[in-house]
């Protein structure tokens, strides 16, 4: 891929994920206890850990989104973004496999999208794109731009 196109793709993905993370975190920051309940519904972590997750995870999403949008600490922000998307994918996949009939909670309490094949496909797409973004930024900062 040409360096120019890579640069545009990186910007597009960065802004896309930046906006997505900020949007996703907003409701959760405003109503963390509601988010704690959504986390607990996944039945992966107990009540205590879900409280901590609800207290800090939305803020991590928000700050990562801001960094991606602003283009500051891109390497760290894209790595955290990729980790977040991978974790979300694992959570949704395990819930779908176990047949849990729960709301996703991905965008706070307003969203009523339940766990299912569509949600799983969406999360696979996010995880793949976040990995591409991380590789793009990593390759540019490491100076081997032509390899991807």
């Amino acid at each position: 891929m040409k360096p120019d196109r890579k640069s545009w793709l990186e910007k597009l993905l960065r802004w896309g994920f930046g906006l997505l993370l900020i949007y996703a975190s907003w409701e959760k920051i405003l109503d963390p206890l509601d988010f704690a309940r959504a986390v607990e519904n996944y039945r992966v972590i107990g009540h205590s850990l879900s409280i901590y997750t609800a207290a800090f995870l939305p803020m991590l999403e928000f700050l990562t989104g801001l960094l991606l949008l602003a283009g500051i600490w891109k390497d760290a922000a894209s790595a955290v973004n990729a980790c977040l998307m991978a974790v979300f994918l694992i959570l949704v996949a395990q819930a779908a496999t176990r047949g849990l009939d729960i709301e996703c909670g991905c965008f706070g309490s307003d969203e009523s999208q339940t766990i299912g094949p569509l949600k799983l496909a969406e999360n696979i797409l996010y995880a793949l794109l976040s990995f591409v973004l991380w590789r793009l930024i990593r390759s540019r900062s490491a100076g081997w731009a032509g390899r991807l």
Partner: protein, 155 residues
Amino acid sequence: MKTFRRILLLCLFTLAAGLAVNRINPRGIPWRLLVLTWTPGLKPVERISAEDAYVQMMDGMTCFMDVRDEKAFEIDHISGARHMPFLLLSRHPGSLDSLDRDRAYILYDFDAGSRIPAMALNLMKTRGFRNVSVLSDGFAGWLERGFPREFGEAL
């Protein structure tokens, strides 16, 4: 290495901002709840079965306290229960001062396994309440046995 350092700093910012925002936000998670949640293994608490609690209720000896949020309480709750959401309790423990410390209180959440009533109990004990226990089967167990419930807002 630089990236790793930045990730670490981002996590530290997240911790600081998370604590600050939850403190400012009226619907945020209060630090007391975080501290109580951190307590690895709460002290063993007094538990009471639904049957014994029902007997005490009939004798008029005890006051039920519902620690769930407003929405859950409005749907239904144990007849005569007082609404004391844990979020409010952990933010303003002083709200307990209006209660009679010599009375018996039974705290409950919906699920039997919930730690919230135990955390509320520990908070009440630190404020001088001696006769407090947790409904061991939760509100779910109460409903299963067909014991009385009522609907509507807190008085």
